[in-house]
């Protein structure tokens, strides 16, 4: 091989770098904290940011349900039971024969069929129900404090029917109920999720980290708890909780108690991973650095489980929202008059609805699915952002 020397490189004092965009000045490279880095990476994840926005929107809705909903959740109109959804039109025919801009929905022509025991609805093109934004409608108390009657959207004449998503068996506006349901569904179950998560992570960590008798004890507890079917527990609790509590309080307490029983799965998974990780060199290194056990567990080992925990979390949230419906099946979930997505779904759990009023099933289910997906993609984005291997 011939000898070659590249003397033009003699003076180089550091590795070659160049700015990200050609032409941009290469400033002194800023040092950022880990959190800022993670945030920076998260921001670049378009789907995740979108999901985050969706969730924010849902919480926004939950905050202003009274204003956003066109009607009141309890307001029922007998003649409109099982009314199908209306569609919005933008232009109406003028007297002069032309068209003019007027957002509206069409009213219904209703017939009662006493043999089949139902009302049949036909869209009546002649009944124009003009609608608008910031209209006056039924009075409500925002956050139970401020009496107001402005609604984001609604019929100009509050007595006209506007049922964009249809009505339920008692002639109540599904859209209103769906919006009201957001508040409960997006809040209550989450407390339980948070508690289970903490318990699962902490106890699983301790069990896997220490092994020995700690592990022995925690495992026995887990065995007892997880072999205990929840159904009898529900039934027992339902009977034990004082009746003077409102259904919402009862449900809240029940989710709390159940979360005390729901951590075992995560705990065992965490334990399994801890078992594998606790002997790693980097853990030993951290121990030699003087980290106490708490720091070892939470600062050094647990981050390795970020992905798993985020996945479990994003799975637990929909499970909690949906679980409410199953609990109702057993008679311990949320019940009317509380409005939640679970309650709406529970109302839809019969052939009658599936066959003749599918909108009662589709919209609440869609709401759950959207939130669930949004939480999941958000979790995904966070995972990716926290992943050291992602740039």
């Amino acid at each position: 091989m011939t000898t070659q020397v590249f003397l033009d490189t003699v003076g180089e004092e550091r590795p070659a770098v160049s700015p990200l965009k050609t032409g941009a000045p290469l400033e002194d490279i800023a040092v950022a904290g880990q959190w800022r880095l993670i945030w920076g990476r998260f921001i670049q994840h378009r789907v995740a940011v979108g999901a985050g926005i969706v969730i924010a929107v849902f919480y926004f809705i939950a905050l202003f349900v009274e204003f956003l909903a066109p009607a009141l959740p309890e307001a029922s109109r007998p003649q409109y039971t099982y009314a199908p959804p209306q569609s919005i039109g933008l232009f109406v025919a003028d007297e002069s024969g032309g068209t003019r801009f007027q957002p509206h929905v069409k009213g219904y022509a209703i017939e009662v069929d006493p043999v089949a025991l139902r009302r049949t609805f036909v869209v009546d093109d002649t009944k124009i129900v003009p609608i608008g934004f910031f209209v006056e409608g039924p009075t409500y108390k925002l956050w139970g404090v401020f009496a107001m009657n402005r609604h984001l959207i609604g019929p100009l004449n509050p007595t006209d029917p506007m049922y964009l998503l249809g009505t339920d068996k008692l002639g109540r506006d599904l859209m209103t109920r769906l919006i009201y349901g957001t508040r409960v569904s997006m809040s209550i179950g989450l407390v339980g999720v948070a508690i289970s998560l903490c318990l699962g992570v902490v106890l699983g960590s301790l069990s896997g980290f220490y092994g020995g008798w700690v592990d022995m004890t925690i495992q026995r507890i887990i065995e007892v708890i997880s072999s205990m079917p929840t159904i009898p527990l529900w039934l027992g609790l339902a009977a034990a909780i004082p009746l003077t509590w409102s259904p919402l309080q009862v449900y809240f307490v029940i989710t709390l108690i159940v979360s005390l029983f729901g951590w075992t799965g995560l705990a065992r998974e965490v334990r399994g991973r801890f078992y594998a990780l606790r002997g790693e060199d980097f853990v030993t290194a951290a121990r030699l650095d003087g980290s106490g056990e708490r720091r070892l567990i939470f600062r050094h080992i647990l981050p390795s489980l970020t992905s798993h925990i985020l996945a479990v979390l994003t799975l637990a949230i929909p499970t909690m929202i949906v679980a409410e419906t199953a609990l109702s099946f057993l008679g311990v979930g949320l019940k009317p008059p509380v409005v939640s997505w679970g309650v709406l779904l529970q109302d839809a759990q019969n052939i009658r609805t599936v066959a003749t009023a599918p909108w009662l099933l589709v919209w609440p289910a869609a709401a759950v699915v959207v939130v669930v997906l949004a939480y999941n993609f958000l979790g995904d984005g966070l995972r990716d952002a926290a992943d050291p291997y992602e740039s």
Binding site: M1, A16, G290
Partner: protein, 579 residues
């Protein structure tokens, strides 16, 4: 390939020595980082020829590993090949590996089949949950289409060739039951398993004692001669370069600054970096830089180790059939005095790492005693320490891990890793902490601006220095450095060693310096203990051990130290130790 074919190929190969098998042309690799683009490799060109060895040397972090991995189409996610070609010559003409997609079947055939790769960090590069054997067998079955039994037999044979003792049982052991050097050899066996045309070995002998290293290099040489295998050897050990290289390329800051035959480079270096590299090479003959009067320098013993023993039971038996117990450390006793540097050398797998860990009690000793004497004169029985006491002890006696990658938490940035002991000690926080971390990184020659990167985005040598920085963070009184400089190029190593000596002078700390590089041990240490199969077979001053070894094992060890001079290859005249 049938036997006939092999013979034919063998003949052809020998005839064809010198014909280029792989040509790298103008290869550039960029890493897209958050704030900037790092040009880790720039316009690198070289060729690998049949039967010849190209040694790639250069500064730590100069892009050697990145280049080597790129030859197999392995590039980290943030990185991309920005230009250049990697032409592989074969029966069907030449193909450009740089153009191949990750999933192309052609690339799969080349990987492991035509090009074998020994990763720089064998310790982390093996699966933790599979036996060593199964990982090698898999490669054999894939490329050589052997049946399970033949593959196993071949694996045992390969392990034997790479000097693993008792290969029949060791095939069924798990990675974590192997010592660092054993893993490295297993990795080499894996790369050699399928008779590759080209072997890329990224610092394959960093964890090997010199005798084993010599055997391995011999093995490779034999294969090269018989099969015409081309080799790209990346190493920091100029001795090894001198011993095995045909050609040498010197890399710095992503560029090849000089190439040439080994003789030219060693004896007529053109580029100033090459010259400085050679001049900082530590020779065996070179005595300790800072000669002081030992008798006066040595104070009280800080650590007294007596009859320390560790017996491992095997883990591989699934239904209770535990294999024979293995005595990893056997009755080890020594004293470490304040301000003393104790070198530990010895065969790979002889229990050096284990000894270090026993002293820190990260592995519980089977028997023996350890006494630690503090500066204020109080002393502790380390084996009886309480949790809090142990924590304090760990603050004073620090460890640099042999496997830097595994010892760095992959989910923490370098800043957090190095800062962690400081945070725990509660001495610093906020900007002060950041400043101190920057200082420490600067001390070990790492750009502080990269401190927000995660460990995987560093080169092997850089990671090792991060480990050192972490160990130094707390001003310890004893530092156990397990192969702490193995992955460093000579100039940086010299710099680090001087740094350590400097600190020692200031703080009066003592070192237990586990190393395979006897030249470095001699340069750095006052006393040397030689380990063999778990026992300390000889102890003495560094000078005595190097110049006047008494035990036959020590003699063979010294004789195998490579000489960084291609005109005077000492390895060839080594004596082999037969136990």
């Amino acid at each position: 390939m049938g036997i006939g074919g092999m013979v034919a190929k063998l003949k052809a190969d020998v005839a064809d020595t010198g014909e280029p098998l792989l040509e790298v042309k103008d290869l550039s690799i960029d890493f897209h980082l958050r704030t900037h683009i790092l040009h880790a490799v720039r316009n690198v060109s070289f060729a690998l020829e049949r039967g010849r060895t190209l040694c790639l040397v250069g500064e730590s972090g100069s892009g050697k590993s990145v280049t080597a991995r790129a030859l197999l189409g392995i590039v980290d996610r943030q990185g991309r090949i920005a230009g250049g070609r990697i032409l592989l010559h074969g029966d069907e003409g030449e193909v450009d590996i740089a153009q191949m997609t990750e999933r192309s079947s052609e690339l799969l055939r080349i990987r492991g089949g035509r090009i074998g790769l020994v990763f720089q960090e064998p310790m982390s590069s093996l699966s933790p949950v599979h036996t060593i054997g199964s990982q090698i067998i898999e490669a054999l079955r894939l490329h050589r289409r052997l049946d399970a039994r033949a593959a196993r037999a071949e694996t045992v044979e390969l392990l034997r060739q790479v000097e693993i003792r008792d290969p029949e049982t060791m095939v069924d052991r798990y990675t974590f039951e192997f010592s660092g050097g054993m893993r490295q050899r297993a990795m080499i066996a894996m790369a050699l398993a399928c008779d590759p045309d080209i072997l890329i070995a990224d610092e394959p002998t960093t964890a090997l004692d010199v005798t084993t290293q010599a055997e391995i290099l011999d093995l490779i040489k034999r294969l090269q001669v018989s099969r015409g295998m081309a080799m790209l050897l990346i190493t920091h050990d100029m001795g090894v370069v001198a011993e095995v290289a045909d050609d040498v390329a010197v890399m710095r800051y992503g560029r090849i600054v000089e190439t040439g035959s080994v003789d030219d480079v060693f004896h007529a270096a053109q580029h100033p970096y090459t010259s400085s590299l050679l001049s900082s090479t530590v020779r065996l003959e070179q005595p300790r830089a800072d000669i002081r009067d030992r008798a006066e320098a040595l104070g009280e013993p800080v650590l007294s180790v007596r009859s320390l023993t560790k017996v491992y039971g095997a883990v591989s038996g699934w239904f209770g059939k535990s294999g024979p117990a293995l005595t990893a450390v056997d009755d080890a006793s020594f004293d470490l005095h304040a301000g003393e540097n104790l070198g530990i050398v010895g065969e790979s797998g002889s229990g050096k790492t284990t000894l270090g860990r026993l002293i820190l009690r990260t592995v519980e000793p089977t028997s023996g005693s350890i006494t630690y004497r503090r500066k204020d004169g109080t002393s502790d029985d380390v084996l009886a320490l309480s949790k809090a006491g142990l924590k304090d002890y760990h603050r004073q006696v620090r460890l640099v891990f042999q496997d830097p990658f595994a010892s760095l938490n992959p989910r923490m940035t370098v800043k957090q890793i190095v800062g962690d002991p400081l945070v725990v000690a509660g001495t610093l926080r906020g900007a002060a902490l950041e400043h101190r971390v920057g200082e420490l990184l600067d001390l070990v020659g790492i750009d502080p601006r990269s401190m927000e990167r995660y460990p995987h985005a560093f080169s092997g040598g850089q990671r090792q220095r991060i480990g050192i920085a972490r160990a130094l963070a707390l001003d310890p009184s004893v530092l156990i450095a397990d192969e702490a400089t193995a992955a460093l190029d000579v100039s940086i190593r010299a710099q680090i060693l001087d740094l350590l000596l400097d600190i020692q002078k200031r703080l009066g700390l003592s070192f237990i310096f586990i190393s395979h590089d006897i030249s470095v041990v001699r340069y750095f240490c006052d006393h040397v203990a030689v380990m063999h199969r778990g026992r300390i077979v000889e102890m003495g001053t560094a000078e005595e051990i190097v110049n006047n070894p008494r035990e036959p094992y020590t003699q063979s060890l010294i004789s195998a130290v490579p000489n960084p001079d291609p005109r005077n290859k000492r390895m060839l005249h080594r004596t082999r130790f037969k136990s």
